[in-house]
Symmetry: C2
Subunit: 254 residues, 2 copies
């Protein structure tokens, strides 16, 4: 795989976008379970997820989103649309976005044939579609149901079913470079955001290199706030975290 | 509110995009609960959700996404980033995207003052920020915690906390025109996609005006498929559904 040249890359950061392909998510019929899983997974291996898009099963939508995202981020992960039915158009759309051809790939077909034969399952023309891989792609192994995903350039194409997507994401990591891991600390306070905002903003100004977020929550009908500090440098993070805790202790909030 | 002129509008379709603003979703720390709720809600009131994006709490990202989406769809709904802390920059970003000013709005401030006074809560400068509304916007009522959302042009700005977002979405519907409701039927089969694909594609070709989707699932380790037909015309949908059921019965699959 070539190394995508991005501004973030120059700072040791590895970034990603996630493109979810599926009418069923947009209609609300299926509730997405992949965004949270992939977001957490990438954070843990030092890849920063910067953007997510959900688009319909329409070629022009998929191609436009792929071309917008693949030049902006180190990697683009896609889920959905690689099954055997007529509405599964992800592989063709990726080939089109890259301007390459696509055909049945022996590397994909051979293990699928063996798998189907063992199970007495017919290799229908529809199932054969799942072995179509864009030219130049690496396969991404599917240990659950064999029909593979693939990686073309910096785009990693995975299934939409969560259990299959998860084994493909594991399999894809061997192709990925990972960056400095984004570390974080969090404090939960039983106070509303409006009371801690002034102190918190002043702390952010003293640590511009440690992005700080404030996330309100309601528990038993009472408002609370989670304060999150994020930094790739563990010493700097610890320093900001100590100062936050000192400020909170001083006010009797911790 | 002005009526946005879109190609979809000419066909009686009302479309929408959803823009989720939040670092916490992208890091995986918070699992999104709003996409599924909003998708289903909009489908039920005859608005077709066509795209979702999740972006970070960064002004340039938010402004770019707003400007890309608001010209493409009838409505853009946003969630997140309207609280009192320094990382809450949605209102300012919306004002910037539209090129209008923003300031404390008496329509928002008066009920917030009364609410805080009743509860003995101090009106801190941070809380005052929540009354800042872009010029020209309509307020969107928040019956849970009073600080309102707003609608500017075709953009509806809501809180990120699900319980507050949900009352705001109810409150916003009075400003919205709704379109022909997208109807759907679904059949669950205990057969893998690869076996039904040929029949299903042939049916889709006979009903090009009834989009058909096939959604694989795994239950107790066995593959199954949900077939979904969608159409705004109830008679045409019933016709396609009958034909699908006849095809399935003929093959002994139902």
């Amino acid at each position: 795989m070539s190394e995508p040249a991005t501004a973030a890359g120059a700072q040791g950061l590895v970034t990603a976008a996630l493109l979810i392909i599926g009418d069923e998510i947009l209609s609300g019929r299926t509730k997405d379970k992949n965004i949270g899983y992939i977001a957490e997974y990438l954070t843990n291996i030092g890849i920063q997820l910067k953007e997510v898009r959900v688009v319909a099963d329409e070629e022009a939508e998929i191609v436009d989103a792929l071309n917008a995202l693949r030049h902006r981020y180190t990697y683009v992960f896609t889920t959905g649309g690689i099954g055997p039915t007529h509405d599964d158009i992800t592989a063709d759309s990726v080939a089109k976005a890259f301007g390459v051809g696509i055909d049945v790939d022996e590397r994909a077909l051979t293990p699928m044939k063996a798998y189907f034969e063992r199970r007495g399952v017919e290799l229908t023309p529809a199932r054969l579609r799942m072995a179509r891989i864009p030219f130049g792609a690496e396969l991404v192994e599917n240990s659950v149901s064999i029909a593979p995903g693939f990686m073309l350039g910096n785009v990693i194409v995975m299934a939409g079913i969560p259990s299959i997507m998860q084994v493909m994401l594991d399999a894809a990591t061997k192709y990925l470079k990972t960056g400095k891991k984004m570390l974080s600390t969090a404090v939960d306070l039983h106070r509303p955001e409006g009371e801690i905002a002034g102190m918190f903003e002043a702390l952010q100004k003293r640590y511009p290199d440690v992005p700080m977020g404030s996330y309100p929550f309601m528990r038993d009908g009472r408002p609370g706030t989670q304060l999150v500090l994020r930094c790739t440098d563990p010493e700097r993070l610890a320093e900001a975290d100590s100062e936050l805790r000192a400020e909170l202790t001083k006010r009797g909030w911790l």
